[in-house]
C-alpha cells in the first residue's frame, strides 16, 4: 500500500459518517436552485439520454401517440412507463430523483469498496462517496437531468449486488440497465463471473479463475428470464416492436449526429454513406473485442475487469456523455492498492485538465461565438479521448504491475 494514499485522506476519515449526507444535501440544494439550465448542453446529455427528449416521449406516450414513430425519442419504454405511472414527472421531482440516483451511486460505491475489503465499514468510505459525488463529470450531467446518471447508478448497483453475491438482485438490475443502455452489454460477462467468484483484491497475487463455472448456466437462465420479461413488458407498453430500432438500434446505427464528447459523431459526419454500415460494424465490434482479453487477463479480479471495461466504454461508446468517463474516474477510488504503480498519473490528470477546459471552450467557439468550426470541438474531443485512453492504459499497467511488487534499485520490468 502506498504511504501517500493512506496518509492523504487522513483528515477525512474521522468525518466519513456525515460526508455522504452532507454532500447529498449540497447536491440537492444545487439541483433545486438550478442556477443554469444545462439540459440542452451537448457535453452533458446525448440524444439517448437527454431530459428534453424524455419529456417529449412522455408527452407523446400520454397522448397515446407512438413515441417511436418519430426520430426524436430514443429512451426505453421502461422510462416512459415509469415516469407516467409510479414516478412523478416535474422539474422538482426530477431534481429529487436525480439526486437520489447520485446518492444511490455513491452508496453503492461505498458498499463495493467495503465488499472488496471484506469489512463492514472502512475509513475510506467517506472519501469513496465524495469521489462519486464531487466528480464534476458526474454531477454536471446529473444537474442537466441526463438519464446517464440513472444508468451510472444502475451500473454501480448491479456491481454492488454482484460483489455482495446477491445473484437475483444483480441480474434484475443489470437486465434493466441493459434495457436502457445497450452498450452496457460489455459488463455482462464480468458481472456473471464476479457473481461466481469473489470481489476481493487479488491483483497482487494472480491465480487461475477461482469460481465454479457450473454455477453459470442457472445464472444465465435467470438473466435471460429477466431480460426477456422486460423486453416483453416494453413491447406491451409501446404496443409493437418499433422501440427496438429507436432505442437499441440507435447506439448501433448512430442515426443522430448531434455533437457529443465521444469520437463517433464527427467520424460519421465526414463519412460517405456507402461506407457507413461497414464502419458502424467496425466501431461496434471494436467495443466488444475488449471483453474477452480483459476478462481472461484479470480472471483473478473481476471487479478490476469491470472497472477497466467501464473505462473503455467511457472512451469509445457511441453516445457518451461526461458521466460515462466520469464513472470510470470515480471508480479509481475503489482500487487504492494500485496507486503506487500508476506510471504517469500527473500526465493523465493534466490531459484531463486540458480536456475539461478545451471541451467547453471549443464548443463555445464553434456554436456560440462562431469563430471556430466543428473541427475545433472535434479536436477537443480527441484530447478528451486521449485523456481517457491514458487513464485506462495506466490503470491496466498498474493492475498488472502490482503483481510483481515494489521496484528495486537496478531492476527494471521490461514486459508484464
Amino acid at each position: 500500500m502506498s504511504k501517500r494514499v493512506v496518509s492523504a485522506p487522513h483528515d477525512l476519515t474521522t468525518s466519513s459518517g456525515f460526508i455522504l449526507p452532507a454532500l447529498v444535501a449540497a447536491r440537492l440544494a444545487l439541483a433545486l436552485l438550478q442556477p443554469f439550465d444545462l439540459t440542452h448542453d451537448h457535453h452533458l446529455s446525448s440524444p439517448l439520454t437527454s431530459y428534453a427528449n424524455l419529456q417529449e416521449g412522455i408527452y407523446l406516450f400520454k397522448q397515446d401517440i407512438d413515441p417511436y414513430s418519430g426520430g426524436i425519442v430514443r429512451h426505453s419504454p421502461l422510462y416512459l412507463t415509469l415516469f407516467t405511472t409510479i414516478l412523478p414527472n416535474s422539474r422538482f421531482s426530477a431534481a429529487l430523483l436525480w439526486t437520489l440516483c447520485d446518492a444511490l451511486g455513491a452508496y453503492a460505491m461505498m458498499n463495493i469498496y467495503r465488499a472488496r475489503q471484506g469489512i463492514k465499514t472502512s475509513s475510506r468510505d467517506g472519501l469513496v462517496a465524495a469521489m462519486y459525488l464531487l466528480n464534476p463529470y458526474l454531477f454536471l450531467p446529473s444537474l442537466a437531468l441526463s438519464t446517464s446518471s440513472i444508468e451510472n447508478a444502475l451500473v454501480l448497483l448491479s456491481i454492488m449486488f454482484a460483489s455482495q453475491r446477491k445473484p437475483s438482485q444483480t441480474l434484475l438490475v443489470y437486465a434493466f440497465l441493459l434495457h436502457v443502455s445497450l452498450s452496457s452489454f460489455l459488463f455482462l460477462a464480468p458481472l456473471l463471473l464476479l457473481l461466481i467468484s469473489e470481489p476481493f483484491s487479488h491483483l497482487a497475487s494472480p491465480r487461475a479463475f477461482s469460481g465454479d463455472f457450473k454455477k453459470l448456466p442457472p445464472l444465465l437462465g435467470e438473466f435471460a428470464v429477466c431480460f426477456i420479461s422486460l423486453t416483453m413488458a416494453s413491447t406491451l407498453i409501446s404496443g409493437g416492436f418499433s422501440w427496438i430500432g429507436q432505442t437499441w438500434g440507435a447506439s448501433l446505427t448512430l442515426p443522430d449526429l448531434t455533437p457529443n464528447v465521444g469520437v463517433w459523431w464527427y467520424f460519421f459526419t465526414e463519412m460517405f454513406d456507402h461506407f457507413r454500415p461497414f464502419f458502424l460494424m467496425v466501431f461496434s465490434v471494436h467495443l466488444l473485442i475488449y471483453i474477452a482479453p480483459i476478462c481472461i487477463k484479470f480472471q483473478y479480479d473481476m471487479l478490476y475487469a469491470i472497472f477497466l471495461l467501464a473505462g473503455i466504454l467511457g472512451t469509445f461508446k457511441a453516445f457518451p456523455t461526461l458521466s460515462d468517463p466520469g464513472l470510470f474516474l470515480s471508480m479509481i477510488s475503489l482500487f487504492p492498492e494500485t496507486y503506487p504503480y500508476l506510471r504517469y498519473p500527473i500526465v493523465t490528470s493534466l490531459l484531463h485538465l486540458h480536456a475539461a477546459l478545451l471541451l467547453p471552450l471549443f464548443h463555445h467557439l464553434w456554436l456560440s461565438q462562431g469563430t471556430g468550426n466543428a473541427n475545433f470541438f472535434y479536436a477537443s474531443t480527441l484530447v478528451f479521448a486521449c485523456a481517457n485512453g491514458a487513464a485506462v492504459i495506466d490503470c491496466v499497467w498498474a493492475g498488472l504491475r502490482i503483481a510483481i511488487g515494489e521496484e528495486k534499485e537496478g531492476i527494471v520490468i521490461a514486459q508484464e
Binding site: 502506498s2 504511504k3 501517500r4 496518509s7 492523504a8 485522506p9 500527473i346 493534466l350 485538465l353 486540458h354 477546459l357 478545451l358 471552450l361 471549443f362 467557439l365 461565438q369 462562431g370 469563430t371 471556430g372 468550426n373 475545433f376 534499485e409 527494471v412 521490461a414 514486459q415
Partner: protein, 626 residues
C-alpha cells in the same frame, strides 16, 4: 557492399543481445538525456517564446491580405452616391449642429432623427434605456429599410453613435457620422438591389446605447439594464458598419476591429473594405496610426522610435517598418487583452455579427462626405452579395499594417511555447518532489561504495490541491465582495482584499508548517508544481479565445511563477511575498473601469482576474512563504 550497408543499418536499429534489455537501456538513455537537459530546454523555450512575441511585428512574419470569400467581389460595382447626397448630408449636419447648440436632450435628438427617418419613408422608432447600476440612460433611434428582393431574414446594420470614439466617448460628438447615416438612409432607399434588410441605428451615448439596442434586438436579458422593447425588428444581422466621423474633413479612414472579450470580426469584411477604399482612392490606416514613413515632416509626432537611437538604425527601412507594425500590434494587444474592444463595433461581435468601425481621421482634407458615402455604399453592396456566412477560418489574425496580417500559425506558438516551458518546469518540480537522495541510511547499509541512492517519498498532493482550491475560492469571495456595494470606495475594498490575501497566505503557511510530516516532500514544491501546470494549461487554452490575453498572461505569469521559491531568510521571504502580492493585485487600481466593462458590457476580464489570475499569483506567493 550493399549487403554490408544493410547489416549496419539493421545493427543500428536492432542491436544484438536481449531486445528487452536494449529497449530498457534505450528508454533510460532517452529519459536521462531529457531530464539532464530539461532546465536548458525550458530556458530555450522561454527565450524562444519571448523573442517570438517581440518579433511579432517583424514584416517578414506576416503576409499580404487577400479576399477569401469569392462571393464578396469587392469594388466591382458602380457607385451612385453623388454631390446631391453630399448636400443632403450637409443639411442634416446643419440641423444636428443646431440641436447641439441648443443643448437638446436625448429625447429631442431622437425625436428629430425619428422624424427625419419617417420623412425619408422608412419605418422608424426610438428606444429608451437605462442602466440601473451606473445611472446611464438615453434614447436610441433606428429605422429599417425592408429588402425589396428578399423576405428580410437577413440584415445589415449601418450605425453611428452620438459620441465619437476620438476621446473614448468623453464628449466629442459624432455629428458627421450621424449625418452620414441619415443621408445614406435617404440615398439607399432609392435602390431596389438590396437582398438584405438595411437597419440604420443612431445609438445614444458611446457604448451604452448600442449595448441596450443590441440586447433588446436579440432579446437577451441583462439584469442591470432596463431597455424598452423594440417596436420593429428585422432578420439575422450578418454585418454591421459603424461610422465615426468626428472632424471637419478627413485624410484617412482608420479601421478599428477588436470586439468584446477578444472576439474579432471576419477578416474578409475588412479586407473588402481595404480593397474598396484603395479603388476609390481613399487611404486606409489601422486605428488612427499614420505611417511616419509617408509623412517625413511629421516624424516627431508619429514615430515612437527615440531620438537617441543612432541615425543608421533609426532610418533603416526594416527598423522603421518594424516600428510602425509594432505600434499597430501593441494597440491591438491592448484592445484585445482588455476585452473592452476598440469601439462601438465591438458590441456587435457578441451576437455573431461581423462589424468594424471606419474612423474618419480628422484632418484639413482632402476627403469628406463624398468619399465616405461612396465607400460605405460599395461596402454595403459587397456584403449584400453574401449568400452564406463568412468562413470560419478567417477569425484568427493580427493586422500588422493596413494591408498585411499574420496568420494564426505565425503568432500562436509564441504564447504556447512559454506555456510549454511552464509545464516542463512544473513537471520537473513534480518529479523532483517525489524523490529524495538517501545518503545516510544507504551508507550504513551498503558495504560497497556506491552513489547515494534515490528513494521515493510521498507527496502531499491533497493538501496542495486544498490550498489551490481554497485560494480560488478566496478569489470568488473577493470578487463578490468588491462587486457588492463598494461603489466609489475601491480604496477601502482594495485594502480589505489585501488584508484578506495576507491573512490567507500567512494562515496557510502557518497551518502547513505546523503539520509538516517527516519524510514527505515539502508542500512548497508540490504546490509550485501544480500551480505551474495549472497556469500553463490556462494560458494554452486561452490562446484561441483571446490571444492577447494569453500572451499577457504568459508575460505576467511565465517567469514569476517559474522562479517562486522559498528561502531561509525571513526578510527575503517577506519581500518576495510582497512582490507577488503586488503582481497579483496591482491591477486593482483599474478596478472601476474593469467593473464598468463587466457590468455594462459583460467583459469577463474582471471575474477572470479575480478568480483565476489573482489566486494563481497568490499561490506563487504562498510558495515563497512556506
Amino acid at each position: 557492399m550493399d549487403n554490408n550497408w544493410r547489416i549496419r543499418l539493421r545493427r543500428r536499429f536492432r542491436p544484438e543481445g536481449d531486445p528487452n534489455l536494449v529497449r530498457v537501456r534505450r528508454r533510460k538513455a532517452i529519459v536521462s538525456a531529457f531530464s539532464r537537459r530539461v532546465t536548458f530546454l525550458r530556458l530555450i523555450l522561454l527565450l524562444v517564446g519571448y523573442i517570438w512575441m517581440v518579433a511579432l511585428p517583424y514584416p517578414q512574419l506576416g503576409r499580404g491580405i487577400y479576399i477569401d470569400e469569392n462571393a464578396l467581389q469587392p469594388g466591382q460595382v458602380n457607385t451612385y452616391w453623388g454631390w446631391g447626397d453630399v448636400h443632403n448630408s450637409d443639411r442634416y449636419l446643419d440641423d444636428l449642429e443646431r440641436l447641439r447648440d441648443s443643448n437638446a436632450t436625448s429625447e429631442q435628438r431622437a425625436q428629430y432623427l425619428d422624424t427625419e427617418f419617417r420623412k425619408i419613408g422608412l419605418f422608424s422608432s426610438t428606444q429608451t434605456y437605462q442602466f440601473t447600476s451606473q445611472d446611464i440612460n438615453g434614447t436610441n433611434t433606428y429605422a429599417i429599410l425592408s429588402s425589396p428582393r428578399a423576405p428580410g431574414v437577413e440584415a445589415m446594420i449601418i450605425s453611428a453613435s452620438w459620441l465619437s470614439r476620438i476621446d473614448d466617448g468623453n464628449g466629442a460628438l459624432n455629428l458627421r457620422g450621424v449625418a452620414t447615416v441619415l443621408a445614406l438612409a435617404k440615398f439607399l432607399k432609392q435602390y431596389s438591389l438590396w437582398a438584405k434588410d438595411l437597419v440604420f441605428v443612431v445609438s445614444d451615448g458611446y457604448l451604452d446605447g448600442m449595448q441596450a439596442w443590441l440586447s433588446a434586438y436579440h432579446g437577451t436579458i441583462q439584469s442591470n439594464l432596463e431597455a424598452e422593447r423594440l417596436e420593429m425588428s428585422s432578420g439575422v444581422v450578418w454585418t454591421a458598419l459603424n461610422i465615426d466621423y468626428p472632424g471637419h474633413s478627413f485624410s484617412h479612414l482608420g479601421v478599428f476591429y477588436e470586439g468584446l472579450n477578444g472576439r474579432l470580426p471576419n477578416q474578409d469584411l475588412m479586407n473588402s473594405f481595404h480593397v474598396i477604399c484603395s479603388r476609390m482612392g481613399v487611404p486606409v490606416v489601422l486605428y488612427d496610426h499614420l505611417d511616419p514613413r509617408s509623412y517625413p515632416d511629421r516624424r516627431k509626432e508619429l514615430d515612437w522610435l527615440p531620438e537617441w537611437l543612432p541615425g543608421a538604425l533609426r532610418n533603416d527601412p526594416e527598423v522603421r517598418a518594424y516600428a510602425y507594425n509594432a505600434r499597430n500590434v501593441w494597440r491591438h494587444v491592448v484592445h484585445q487583452a482588455s476585452g473592452r474592444g476598440s469601439g462601438v463595433h465591438g458590441l456587435f461581435h457578441q451576437f455573431r455579427i461581423d462589424a468594424f468601425t471606419m474612423f474618419a481621421l480628422p484632418a484639413t482634407g482632402p476627403h469628406g462626405f463624398h468619399a465616405l458615402g461612396r465607400v460605405v455604399e460599395s461596402t454595403l453592396r459587397t456584403s449584400n452579395n453574401l449568400l452564406e456566412r463568412l468562413h470560419a477560418s478567417f477569425f484568427f489574425y493580427i493586422m500588422t499594417a493596413p494591408n498585411r496580417f499574420m496568420k494564426i500559425g505565425n503568432f500562436l506558438p509564441s504564447a504556447v511555447l512559454i506555456s510549454v516551458a511552464m509545464m516542463f518546469t512544473g513537471l520537473k518540480e513534480w518529479s523532483d518532489s517525489g524523490w529524495t537522495q538517501e545518503t545516510l541510511r544507504n551508507a550504513e547499509k551498503s558495504t560497497e561504495t556506491q552513489a547515494p541512492g534515490w528513494t521515493r517519498r510521498p507527496r502531499p498532493v491533497l493538501r496542495a490541491l486544498c490550498i489551490m482550491i481554497s485560494s480560488h475560492l478566496l478569489g470568488v469571495a473577493t470578487y463578490l465582495l468588491m462587486n457588492s456595494g463598494w461603489d466609489g470606495q475601491n480604496s477601502i475594498g482594495g485594502m480589505l482584499v489585501l488584508t484578506m490575501a495576507c491573512i490567507f497566505a500567512f494562515g496557510v503557511s502557518a497551518v502547513c508548517s505546523k503539520s509538516d510530516r517527516g519524510g514527505a516532500a515539502p508542500i512548497a514544491s508540490v504546490l509550485k508544481a501544480l500551480n505551474l501546470c495549472f497556469a500553463s494549461t490556462i494560458i494554452s487554452a486561452t490562446t484561441v479565445l483571446n490571444f492577447s490575453l494569453a500572451a499577457s498572461l504568459a508575460v505576467f505569469l511565465g517567469i514569476p511563477l517559474s522562479v517562486s521559491s522559498t528561502s531561509k531568510n525571513l526578510p527575503l521571504r517577506a519581500s518576495k511575498f510582497s512582490l507577488y502580492l503586488f503582481l497579483s493585485l496591482g491591477w486593482v487600481l483599474k478596478h472601476e473601469r474593469l467593473n464598468w466593462n463587466w457590468e455594462i458590457m459583460g467583459v469577463w476580464l474582471l471575474p477572470f482576474l479575480w478568480i483565476v489570475y489573482f489566486p494563481l499569483v497568490l499561490q506563487a506567493g504562498i510558495v515563497c512563504l512556506l
